[in-house]
């Protein structure tokens, strides 16, 4: 980019409400430069939060420390517990397979040798191949609604585990892996939507460490 071009764009760039509503999302609003000197064209295809930021500018919202603390507490109370419970259940679900194996799953489905370990391999193969498509779906569609659809399907598949013979069981474990692959990406997105960067490590730990509850509960049973 020549210095002349840069001068042309050196004004104040601002994305307006009209730009966001415009049909032509590729319309260039202005050009900025990356730290490495690469020109970046700004279009109306920005973050979902932009429209709220534009609206906030008119009403002058101020965030003082006390309000921030109160709001953070409220977010913690409403957002984190459900995520923790779900993570705990995801872990219990992993344990359920090994409990079932002790309670007659292996004999009823006539599993021998490595046949049982294949149920876990199938799960991670499903997870491995679906984690990227799942992430794409989470981007394309509303995060919470999408992850809840995945979780409801996952519950249904879990119920179906009671029905089939061995090949069907392995197929169900694969589908289960596919469905569960969306949980962590969704939770990562939700955490970054709600919390500031220095709050995120603690919050990820809160929902992630609920695995530990799963181990404790599992051990107690």
């Amino acid at each position: 980019m020549s210095s002349l071009d840069l001068e042309k764009t050196n004004g104040n760039i601002e994305v307006s409400q009209q730009d966001l509503e415009s049909q032509n999302k590729d319309q260039v609003i202005g050009t900025i430069m990356s730290p490495s000197g690469k020109p970046i064209e700004i279009t109306g295809d920005v973050d979902e939060a932009m429209k709220y930021a534009i609206r906030n500018k008119d009403v002058h919202v101020e965030l003082d420390a006390a309000t921030n603390k109160r709001l953070l507490r409220k977010i913690d109370c409403y957002v984190l517990p459900l995520m923790g419970v779900l993570y705990c259940f995801q872990f219990i679900d992993k344990l359920s397979n090994s409990y079932a194996s002790i309670l007659g799953l292996r004999t009823d489905l006539h599993m021998e040798g490595t046949m049982y370990s294949w149920t876990s391999t199938a799960f991670y193969l499903g997870y491995l191949f679906f984690v990227f498509p799942a992430s794409y779906l989470l981007q394309r569609f509303p995060v919470a609604k999408t992850v809840s659809v995945f979780i409801i399907l996952w519950g249904m598949i879990l119920c179906c585990h009671a029905v089939p013979e061995y090949p069907g069981f392995v197929a169900l474990r694969t589908i289960l892996g596919m469905l569960e692959s969306c949980v962590t990406p969704a939770f990562t997105i939700i955490t970054s939507q709600w919390y500031t960067q220095d709050e995120q490590f603690m919050r990820v730990t809160c929902w992630f460490a609920c695995n530990g509850f799963g181990t404790l509960i599992g051990g107690a049973i």
Binding site: K25, I42, E48, N68, S96, R140, T188, S192, Q193
Partner: protein, 296 residues
């Protein structure tokens, strides 16, 4: 008729009960968790506006709905993405191996009885919970998550050494319980994706690659325990320790990378760049945004 027609097998019941609870949780999430904070039913109008201002300093917003190819390419050509992948593989080879063979290690290798083994496994759940939350809590005071993840993973490597080289039962047991610190590394890397990878497409791509590594680790891990090597499982112990050291190294490498890139950004004179109102919410990647700073 026989009794089987009327009663259901215990293992089938487990799956049905868990499945129903999971479905219920799914409906609960749909009703309770909003798709973006601006739509939260539990916040009032003013709080919804404040949530946006709160995360402004993240240099990121709620997300962007379109898959941007250039961000995908930036993600797969960023060396840090592949460090995340390497971390996922190297942390989960030992983890999944230990999950699958943990009670066998206690029982066969360390010589505890079956009941003892089950009871001995329990403290590690508590160590996991208290240890990880403790380290994360310290990080809120010191503002240094990479350092604490480095310490936590260091403890894990120590635990692996005790397991591999310890000859006394008590030493091996200490190693087994200290190993429960292991999630702290993965937690740190997930939080790194949340905080330090900006640009929504870049973020979801990096996260997917991290968890692909995690799956590869899960698939390989149990294979390191070769039946022929029972009960000492030397091969598995070597694999566990090697992978532990690699994952420790990747945390240090990611940490160093962020510190170095922050230093580079500090040298930039921001006055030379055109000003851009609300640039925080323009879905810029961490590399594109001169104001973006990595959390270390």
């Amino acid at each position: 008729m026989n009794q089987d027609n009327y009663s259901i097998k215990a293992w089938k019941l487990i799956f049905i009960v868990l499945g129903c609870v999971t479905m219920f949780l799914g409906f609960l999430i749909a009703a309770h968790l909003p798709d973006t904070p601006a739509k939260a039913w539990f916040l009032n109008e003013q709080e919804r506006a404040l949530v946006v201002e709160r995360i402004r300093k993240n240099q990121q917003g709620f997300g962007n709905k379109h898959f941007k190819k250039y961000q995908f390419i930036e993600a797969i050509s960023d060396y840090k993405t592949w460090l995340l992948f390497l971390f996922g593989v190297s942390t989960n080879i030992p983890s999944s191996g230990m999950t699958a063979f943990g009670s066998i290690l206690l029982n066969e290798t360390m010589g505890y009885s079956v009941t003892q083994s089950l009871l001995m496994g329990m403290p590690s759940g508590a160590v996991e919970l208290v240890g990880c939350l403790g380290l994360a809590y310290i990080s809120t005071i010191t503002h240094s998550r990479m350092f604490l993840a480095f310490i936590g993973t260091g403890i894990v490597v120590l635990a692996q050494c005790l397991l591999a080289f310890g000859t006394l039962q008590a030493v091996q047991m200490a190693g087994y319980n200290l190993y429960a610190f292991v999630p702290i590394g993965l937690i740190c890397m997930v939080s790194v994706v949340a905080s330090n990878v900006a640009g929504h497409t870049k973020k979801i791509t990096s996260n997917a690659i991290l968890f692909m590594g995690y799956c590869v680790g899960s698939l390989v891990g149990p294979q390191t325990f070769v039946a022929k090597q029972a009960p000492q499982y030397h091969g598995a112990k070597v694999a566990i320790l090697t992978c532990g050291i690699i994952s420790w190294f990747t945390i240090a490498a990611v940490w160093y990378g962020y510190v170095r890139e922050n230093k580079k950004k500090d040298l930039i004179n921001k006055e030379d760049f055109p000003s851009f109102e609300n640039h925080e919410f323009a879905d810029l990647t961490d590399k594109e945004n001169i104001y973006f700073r990595y959390q270390t």
